[in-house]
Subunit: 243 residues, 2 copies
């Protein structure tokens, strides 16, 4: 894969509840997995607070560096949902009630009196934004330029990912092989360095684990070139057999 | 809690395996929980790649903004473990073999021939750094100024957190109360906004969930002032009873 064709992405998780430890984020892994499956290289993920300046800062820093920025969280109806406000500020555009988003809410709440000010908040989209639909709720996410704004609730987030990924430009999908060694990683480190030196174009990682009180290491190689990957796999397997 | 006494922290997770989706990070939640328990406000967490420039950039940006920076990952014996190199570069100091870290390794490997070049890598500490011990392995983490460098393996990471947190300056510990409402959050959003307006000094969040196909919302208030927190709890409970 040549550098020029690499497609890159970054993620911004918006949520005091993650930074307080109350909630363990699972959306980074969902986005990371989706990116890998589409040949998109996720280069950074940030968790920021429910704070406009923090959100604006992260989005503006990252959207200039990568092809796609994905955000999760802060698009619900309550006072602490400030992602739409923040994205509008980041792009310097107005935050407007989107007619299609309003219609979705009107269709959902048969009695117009149910469309409270809080619920109307969910129809606000930065000017020029396009809606991101999902199969779980009526409240959409939205895209502004290369920034994709999605829900924090994992099931809704995953539904939105399904909607947007087919529209993204993908890259060469990296395949990976894993070779398991029943020894701690320091036992294989020098040999692994030698293998990496022989195959500088293949990303090789080493992941220690313990299982039933014994040390082991997963050796993982990733590449879009299956011939090279096969050669690395053979070298790693030889290393495992020799260890 | 006055703004001037707030103690702040940030986290940097170092690991291609998290960004590829291969591994789901659990260390952010461990640090977030430890911070909350010690009255330290975790203001940001970043996941960056196994790339020196990315690690240096994240550490230098964050260490200037907060009281404490915690890192996880990249301190093992293999070629992709480059956190120590990166921290040395971030501080502009040399990377040296730390005598105490070397002694720990020598004590562990009774045969000096076992102290391979790869294993010696684990004794490298930026000049002026202090070791962070753990109860799981012989390989230490280290601290340079306000940056605490820890392992990525969760059990080792948690052991290092236990070692360092008693040495940190804590802040006022926020207590939290949770009131559960058996309705979607848009049903309570307007009333919640009114409660937040009455108690601007108490952080109030709203977390929707689904359970057995039904919508519900957890209303969470956090404050160090138990009197104020009690008043908010009563208001939230009234809201839940009225809904």
């Amino acid at each position: 894969m040549s550098e020029s064709t690499a497609v890159t992405a970054a993620m911004v998780v918006i949520g005091d509840e993650v930074l307080s430890g109350r909630t363990a984020d699972v959306n980074i892994n969902a986005v990371a997995t989706a990116c890998s499956e589409h040949g998109i290289s996720l280069v950074e993920a940030r968790v920021v607070a429910d704070d406009i300046d923090a959100i604006v800062g992260a989005i503006n820093s990252l959207r200039a560096q990568v092809d796609y920025v994905f955000t999760s969280g802060g698009i619900g109806p309550t006072h602490d949902d400030i992602t739409a406000d923040s994205v509008a500020k980041a792009f310097g555009v107005a935050l407007l009630e989107h007619p299609t988003a309003m219609q979705l809410l009107l269709d959902h709440y048969s009695d117009p009196a149910e469309l409270t000010p809080a619920r109307r908040r969910m129809a606000r989209v930065p000017e020029g934004g396009e809606l991101i639909y999902n199969a779980v709720t009526k409240a959409p996410g939205f895209r502004v330029e290369n920034v994709y704004v999605m829900a924090g609730v994992p099931a809704i987030m995953r539904s939105m990912l399904k909607a947007i990924f087919p529209t993204l430009r993908g890259g060469d999908v990296l395949q990976s092989v894993t070779v398991r060694v029943e020894r701690g990683e320091s036992s294989v480190a020098d040999a692994l360095t030698a293998i990496q030196a022989r195959f500088p174009d293949v990303a090789i990682g080493s992941y220690p684990f313990t299982e039933g009180g014994r040390y082991g290491t997963n050796l993982v190689a990733r590449s879009a070139d299956l011939t090279r990957l096969g050669a690395v796999q053979a070298a790693l397997q030889q290393l495992a057999d020799d260890t």
